[in-house]
């Protein structure tokens, strides 16, 4: 009888990495559905291009690194990176933009550092920031909600726009594109307009914040809360990050509501919710102790507000996350939990 003698424990909960990633993807689904409802099919085309590119680059990198393909492609980590990246880029972005971003995310930010688990920086955010800096015009031209532009983007339209740069009826998407609510408020504020003046009468603003965005962000939040309930992520980072953002934006808003946008606007207009629940919580690059996670979340919240209010970019989630990624190992070291029986 041939007997194996591996180390204990001999049983396992059965919980798999791929399951974890699938749950995160599932949690993104409601927001994606709303995204399609408000902004048309562009996002779906983005996601498809990004996922295909990510899997291709992942396979290539694995082949070059002489690793088996099946277990690594099947862990859904590349898919998740691709979907997050697609969500960060504007719908109707040209295909090459998405491919370039995915390339940097998968090959540079992930595999050059040793693959999943070894990357110090969030791959999706690296990909996003690379194209943001390299192709600012393409990355900042967002579509307004269909209700505002009156332009319905079908799947075929979106596909054509992505590859030819022209929408169904011959108009290039650029002519349709508008600044995001955050971008708009920022530019208007620099021209000394008051908040109330900027928001009233402009179709891109809805009841709570950016039109359409408000509901998509709420859907992200629902997905995120489900992830917390399912114990896929911990509450520390989202609560700390969003709490900090609300507190600090609330403070400035109370001081001068005409020069500083409301907490609700900050929360629901940009990528704060997506960032808080899905990007900042990327376990590989975040802090891994509970106290560290709180500090990490606070840091991101602060940086997001600082970049949005006084920085050069209208949105700061990506930069804030990357900056805090750098700090994560240090935070981990200094926030080790009290070990059982020690230091009482």
């Amino acid at each position: 009888m041939q007997l194996n003698t591996p180390s204990s424990p001999h049983i396992h909960s059965g919980y798999q990495l791929s399951q974890l990633m699938q749950r995160v993807l599932l949690a993104l689904l409601p927001a994606i559905v709303l995204y399609v409802l408000f902004f048309g099919w562009g996002i779906v085309v983005n996601i498809l291009i990004a996922v295909v590119a990510a899997l291709a680059f992942e396979a290539l990198a694995l082949l070059l690194r002489k690793r088996p393909l099946a277990p690594y492609l099947g862990d859904y980590s590349a898919v998740l990176t691709a979907v997050l990246l697609a969500l960060a880029l504007p719908p109707l972005a040209p295909w090459w933009l998405i491919v370039v971003a995915t390339f940097f995310a998968i090959v540079f930010a992930k595999h050059l550092y040793g693959g999943l688990g070894y990357n110090p920086f969030n791959p999706a955010m690296i990909g996003y920031v690379v194209v943001l800096i390299s192709f600012p015009r393409e990355v900042t031209s967002w579509l307004p909600p269909e209700a505002v532009s009156g332009q319905v983007v079908s799947f075929i339209d979106a596909l054509r726009a992505s590859f030819t740069g022209i929408l169904g009826n011959g108009i290039p998407p650029d002519t349709l594109s508008m600044a995001t609510p955050l971008d708009h408020v920022k530019t208007q504020l620099t021209q000394n307009h008051a908040i109330s003046e900027i928001i009233t009468g402009n179709g891109i603003f809805g009841q709570l914040a950016g039109s359409g965005w408000e509901w998509i962000n709420l859907a992200f939040m629902v997905g995120g809360i489900w992830l917390i309930y399912k114990k896929v992520i911990h509450w520390y980072i989202p609560v700390a990050m969003l709490g900090t953002l609300v507190l600090i934006s609330g403070l400035f808003w109370l001081i001068d509501a005409e020069r500083y946008a409301s907490p609700l606007f900050h929360l629901l207009s940009g990528g704060a919710i997506l960032g808080a629940f899905f990007i900042a919580t990327d376990p590989v690059t975040a802090s891994t102790t509970n106290r560290g996670r709180i500090l990490y979340g606070i840091g991101i919240g602060l940086l997001v507000y600082i970049i949005r209010s006084w920085g050069g970019y209208p949105e700061g989630v990506a930069f804030a996350v990357l900056l805090m990624n750098m700090l994560a190992p240090t935070l981990d070291y200094y926030t080790q939990p009290r070990v059982f029986g020690r230091g009482r």
Binding site: S7, K66, R67, P68, P71
Partner: protein, 183 residues
């Protein structure tokens, strides 16, 4: 122009004096580097590093006359520890050196031994007992496995044996991960 040169020269002189004073006044009687190196070496005294013992090798490393990868009994662990101590890059071990050398001890085949005492004289740690014309024995717990006793033996009665594995000194193996192996 001139004033700048004068000012800078003056500053340099002043700082130089301060530094020189500090170097003398706050001199740290640290652990001499040779001792630190020596403490990392396995003390087998085998001479395989081409130096006559561990301390001379430590001295040679300290004087930058020897490389840190010349200690076969220490293997990779010692090389890395030395690299860490000296702040230099790790060097690859020679092809004939194993990363984790197997620990061995000398064993004298007592039937063959003629009691010549040559091995006793060769042993760097006095781990062989015996007298002239009498059978010799290796004190297993003292033997460092340096093999220096083997060449002098005229009747080839000394063999190296792996240190006996007991549950007491057993080590858990490093986990094998097939996914990380090269195909």
């Amino acid at each position: 122009m001139l004033s700048a040169i004068i000012v800078l020269t003056l500053l340099a002189t002043v700082f130089g004096l301060i530094l020189g004073f500090a170097a003398i006044r706050f001199k740290v009687e640290g652990d001499p580097i040779v001792d630190q190196i020596d403490s990392l070496l396995p003390q087998t005294q085998c001479g395989q590093c081409t130096y006559p013992g561990c301390r001379p090798y430590a001295q040679a490393i300290a004087n930058a006359e020897a490389n840190i990868n010349q200690c076969p009994p220490g293997g990779e662990t010692t090389m890395l520890a030395l690299a860490d101590l000296l702040g230099v890059d790790p060097l690859p071990l020679g092809a004939e050196h194993q990363a984790e050398p197997e620990a061995t001890v000398a064993f004298i085949i007592e039937d063959t031994c003629i009691g010549c005492t040559l091995c006793i004289q060769a042993c760097p740690v006095d781990a062989i007992l015996g007298a002239a014309k009498q059978m010799h024995t290796v004190i297993e717990s003292e033997c460092t496995g340096c093999e220096l006793c083997i060449p002098p033996c005229p009747v080839d009665c000394i063999i190296m044996q792996p240190v006996k594995q007991e549950t007491r000194n057993w080590k858990w193996p490093y986990p094998v991960q097939t996914l990380e192996l090269r195909k």
